[in-house]
């Protein structure tokens, strides 16, 4: 039962072949059996889960179920969950019990999902390997000793290991798509503003966006339908109506114009990874799509632009953590208020978070603001304009999600720039606010590889449709890591 997709489980629940309580207990058992080795979860919530499952069973019996009613899921620990610890992977929030639910959590709960627990992540979502978590690294289910990617590494690994059919994630520079690629699952970052950021702990507010991690595009469509939509509590929430994502899936992709950014296939891309992605492009062509080259000439500047904009916004967002109203407080008494703040923050934040706060402080400081922050925002427009020009010629852009498959734990921790370059293909979509997704498209040395699809603003439906049609023709997304079969 645990190997079934969300859509299959949804049918099984409504056909009364299994109850939500039985399904929830089964997955809680799997988490108990496997999570010591994987470290996907920071907190599990068995009591809450069984309570929600009982309510879901009653709702199904009453004939009032949605497609998500009774489905057990996990939330990235960046989403506030009322009455449940919300740590954001940080010592700073190790004891923080949220007084309210994030909109994403509330909407999924209203649809009837069951919360199994909160997943591990890079501290404050700052990382591409899940190694910066206060709670330790997450293992890649495909091979122990390798990273699952990050920052939504716990969510991706949990879905890949069949501990849950779906999980929530957030993506500021690739944090849904990159771990989805490295663990062989499907991950979608919607258009900026499509999913409410209310109750999602802020990292870089002009880039942050929540989305689903699932095993199929169909499941992603079901999750996104429940997660998205206008929220008056998020000032950047899109007011556009939410389209029928599930209804669009069946439409074929004959004649669809797919653009391939050739500079995504330059020397930085692993040759075997490139071959798998090329084969996926050929498959899309066999499905009737028309491939053509597009030129994203400034995309190589996306990593440097991002590492100005994101740390600048982070240094501002994380100034709220002072150890007074909530969060970590140092046991050492300070002599004055300045020292009090410095000790609370110095001990509460980990190294990568401190580096980003310092980088952000640097690029925003007097005398450097124009040279760094303003310049980065201008380059951001150049990158965004490249995508806009490309979308005059093509409907969707396709290429690799990551430069390589999963790498060893510890390999890139000494060189932040090497770590940052993991996101070289994903960051552009964040800077431009575009929806993008990663779907499994092959293997290199028995490790999964992701195909990235990027669409114009608000076109998640088109992305999901292309991904679904690809998954009807391929079986990469059905492969599962042998240790967790």
């Amino acid at each position: 039962m645990h190997t079934q997709t969300l859509a299959q489980l949804s049918k099984a629940l409504r056909d009364k072949r299994i109850s939500s309580r039985e399904l929830t207990a089964l997955l809680l058992d799997r988490i108990a059996a496997h999570d010591d080795s994987l470290n996907c979860f920071i907190t599990t919530t068995p009591e809450l889960a069984l309570e929600q499952a009982a309510a879901a069973d009653a709702r199904i019996a009453a004939g009032e179920a949605t497609p998500l009613t009774g489905i057990p899921i996990a939330h990235k620990d960046i989403f506030c969950t009322s009455g449940v610890r919300t740590s954001c992977g940080s010592r700073m929030l190790h004891e923080f019990v949220s007084p309210y639910d994030a909109t994403v959590v509330a909407r999924l709960a209203a649809a009837g999902t069951v919360t199994l627990g909160k997943t591990n992540m890079d501290e404050f979502a700052m990382g591409s390997s899940n190694e910066t978590s206060f709670y330790g690294a997450v293992q890649n289910p495909w091979r122990s000793g390798l990273v699952p990617g990050g920052s939504s590494g716990g969510s991706a690994a949990a879905v890949a290991a069949r501990l849950c059919p779906a999980a929530t994630g957030t993506d500021t520079g690739g944090s849904i798509r990159q771990p989805a690629a490295l663990t062989g699952v499907t991950g979608l970052k919607p258009t900026y503003g499509r999913v409410s950021r209310y109750g999602m702990i802020a990292f870089a507010s002009s880039l942050d966006q929540a989305g689903p991690i699932t095993r199929t595009a169909q499941d992603a469509a079901l999750m996104l339908a429940a997660m998205s939509g206008f929220d008056e509590r998020d000032s950047t929430s899109l007011t556009d109506p939410v389209p029928d994502y599930v209804g669009e899936l069946a439409q074929r992709i004959d004649g669809l114009r797919i653009g391939v950014p050739e500079n995504f296939f330059d020397a930085g891309l692993d040759a075997d990874n490139a071959a798998a992605v090329r084969e996926a492009l050929a498959e899309l062509e066999r499905l009737g799509a028309k491939l053509s080259a597009v030129n994203l000439r400034n995309v190589h500047l996306s990593v440097p632009a991002y590492y100005v904009v994101a740390p600048a916004e982070a240094s501002s967002n994380l100034s709220r953590f002072d150890g007074i109203r909530f969060g970590y407080r140092s046991a050492r008494a300070g002599d004055d208020l300045r020292e009090f703040y410095m000790r609370n923050r110095g001990e509460g934040f980990g190294q990568e978070v401190k580096r980003r706060i310092l980088t952000g402080t640097y690029v925003l400081s007097a005398g450097y603001y124009d040279a760094y922050y303003l310049q980065a925002q201008k380059v951001r427009r150049l990158i965004s304009d490249d995508f806009a020009a490309a979308f005059k010629e093509v409907d969707v852009i396709a290429g690799p999600t990551t430069p390589t498959p999963a790498f060893p734990i510890g390999q890139k921790m000494d060189d932040p720039v090497q770590m940052y370059l993991n996101d070289i293909y994903t960051i552009g979509a964040n800077l431009a606010g575009l929806p993008a997704m990663s779907v499994p498209c092959g293997f290199v040395d028995d490790l999964p590889v992701g195909l990235q699809l990027i669409a114009p603003h608000r076109a998640e439906g088109l992305l999901l449709r292309v991904a679904h049609q690809f998954q009807l023709a391929t079986d990469w997304h059905t492969r599962q890591p042998a240790a967790f079969a």
Partner: protein, 95 residues
């Protein structure tokens, strides 16, 4: 461009971050590499380009200026490290 320890100390002061000696050594080399990375932006001609702050360039929505929150002080203070009589307590910091 390399960032010297003195410059990093000033940033730590501005950002209110206490940093240990081993951390300082680590930050000196790693932050310099990060600055080298972002310095690639300096070579780009943006003289005719306007900055982009919001990816969809939508205006900020406004709401009516009315009270929508209720008093949740007791609930919110459950997360505070130290409270007394409904107040947030901190070490004595004013002589």
């Amino acid at each position: 461009m390399s960032l010297q320890a003195e410059a990093i100390e000033k940033l730590c002061e501005l950002a209110r971050l206490e940093v240990t000696d081993p951390e300082m050594a680590d930050f000196t080399s790693k932050l310099s590499r990060i600055v080298d990375l972002v310095d690639q932006l300096q070579a780009v001609d943006t003289s005719a380009t306007r900055p982009l702050a919001h990816p969809l360039e939508l205006p900020q929505r406004l709401r009516p200026d009315v009270v929508t929150e209720s008093d949740e002080r007791a609930l919110l203070q459950r997360n505070a490290p130290d409270v007394g009589n409904g107040l947030y307590l901190v070490p004595k910091v004013i002589e």
